[in-house]
């Protein structure tokens, strides 16, 4: 009988005591979201940013408050490193994302025209998102493209939850105006 995988709190407890495997497991649980947050902020620097941030997180584990959620803590470190790298490179963050081709999943296949139209709409929405100022774009990307909670978004952006709410609200207004 296989044992249940250890929960996050247990992994954090073990990692804080210097268990490298436990920390690696934590990284595995969160590396995709960490990489995507870093990608939103620093584009091509994302991989290096996350790697450096993971080492910093490992060294800073002693200061992690036991019982606190691990993901926002990690995202804060990752996002900070990504911002530093973006600043060092003197670049503005860019989404540089593309809309995926939508897979047809059963049922009546849409007409080629409908597929083209939907793809065009999605591309237009991404373009409008891309054209927003940094703060607005990142807030919307974290909340809706990554589906992060307000707390996680606040950690990634290095702001308070209240700021996330107001920033997202204003960003949606601007996007609505731009997207029509």
């Amino acid at each position: 009988v296989e044992g249940r995988p250890p929960d996050e709190r247990e992994l954090v407890r073990r990692a804080r005591r210097g268990d490298e495997r436990a920390f690696t497991e934590l990284v595995r649980m969160h590396q995709e979201i960490a990489f995507r947050v870093a990608y939103l902020i620093s584009g091509g620097e994302a991989e290096d940013a996350v790697q450096e941030a993971l080492l910093k997180a490992w060294r800073a584990l002693g200061r992690f408050r036991p019982g606190a959620p691990f993901r926002p803590w990690l995202l804060r470190i990752v996002a900070n490193e990504a911002r530093n790298r973006r600043r060092a490179a003197g670049r503005r963050s860019a989404l540089a994302l593309r809309a995926e081709r939508e897979e047809v999943s059963g049922g009546a296949a849409p007409s080629p025209e409908a597929v083209a139209l939907a793809g065009e709409e999605r591309g237009r929405l991404l373009e409008a998102l891309e054209a927003l100022p940094d703060d607005a774009r990142l807030a919307l990307a974290c909340r809706y493209l990554l589906d992060l909670s307000e707390s996680d978004t606040a950690a990634a952006l290095g702001v308070r939850r209240g700021t996330v709410k107001s920033r997202v609200s204003r960003a949606l207004e601007r996007l609505r105006e731009a997207y029509g």
Binding site: Q51, R59, A99, R101
Partner: protein, 220 residues
């Protein structure tokens, strides 16, 4: 507005593939683990010293270890260059970043510009002679080789012992850097952080006074 939010959530984004960062992690031991490793290293060093035959100890004459610093007494120093104290300190960082690197806040709380490089956070002090204070909280060990410098165990503060290395310059190896010659140095460790204070004009009383001020144990 809700419709726009739904559309954003439904956007199928073509994210770049996430690299397997977990598989590539190369972690240095943390404070807790480092303490256990340090004890193991001391035991191993003691065993080596106890059982080594004289010929096998001709290269390394004596070994000291404190916090993240290993000091080896050797017959001849390796080639090392003399460089200014302020060279190769890394990039400026704020207090929060320094605390993240060290796992705790940089001491003293009131300080000049901090620089970070490879896990080492440093600042330049005026004692009034220029001195370099470096702190590191991981197992980013530095190694010091000394041929003729004096190495003395000192008490920095109650329960905090240190090593005072003085006299002739010794060679110091920081991770990722070529060896350089260092002047008088006081090394001590507390709460998982290793402190290193270096300055050509430092004498032992002054170094100890600065160390106590850094730790906040100075009696005034």
């Amino acid at each position: 507005m809700a419709e726009l939010e739904r559309e954003l959530r439904r956007l199928p984004v073509d994210w770049p593939a996430t690299p397997d960062l977990a598989a590539r992690l190369e972690l240095a031991p943390t404070h807790a683990r480092r303490r256990r490793l340090a004890v193991a290293a001391l035991v191993a060093a003691a065993l080596v010293a106890a059982f080594a035959v004289p010929q096998s100890r001709s290269a390394i004459l004596r070994f000291f270890h404190l916090g993240g610093v290993a000091v080896e007494r050797v017959e001849t120093l390796p080639a090392a260059t003399e460089r200014p104290l302020a060279s190769g300190l890394g990039s400026p960082v704020d207090d929060a970043e320094a605390a993240r690197v060290l796992g705790t806040g940089f001491l003293p709380r009131s300080h000049g510009t901090l620089y970070e490089q490879n896990g080492f956070v440093s600042t330049l002090l005026s004692t009034p002679e220029p001195a370099l204070l470096s702190e590191f909280g991981s197992a980013d060990m530095i190694k010091k080789l000394t041929a003729t410098s004096a190495v003395e165990q000192v008490e920095v503060a109650p329960g905090v012992s240190g090593l005072w290395i003085s006299g002739a310059p010794h060679a110091v190896f920081f991770p990722g850097a070529s060896p350089r010659l260092a002047g008088n140095v006081l090394v001590w460790a507390r709460d998982g952080v290793t402190y290193r204070l270096e300055g050509r004009g430092l004498d032992q009383p002054r170094a100890l006074r600065v160390a106590r001020e850094v730790l906040g144990t100075s009696s005034g």
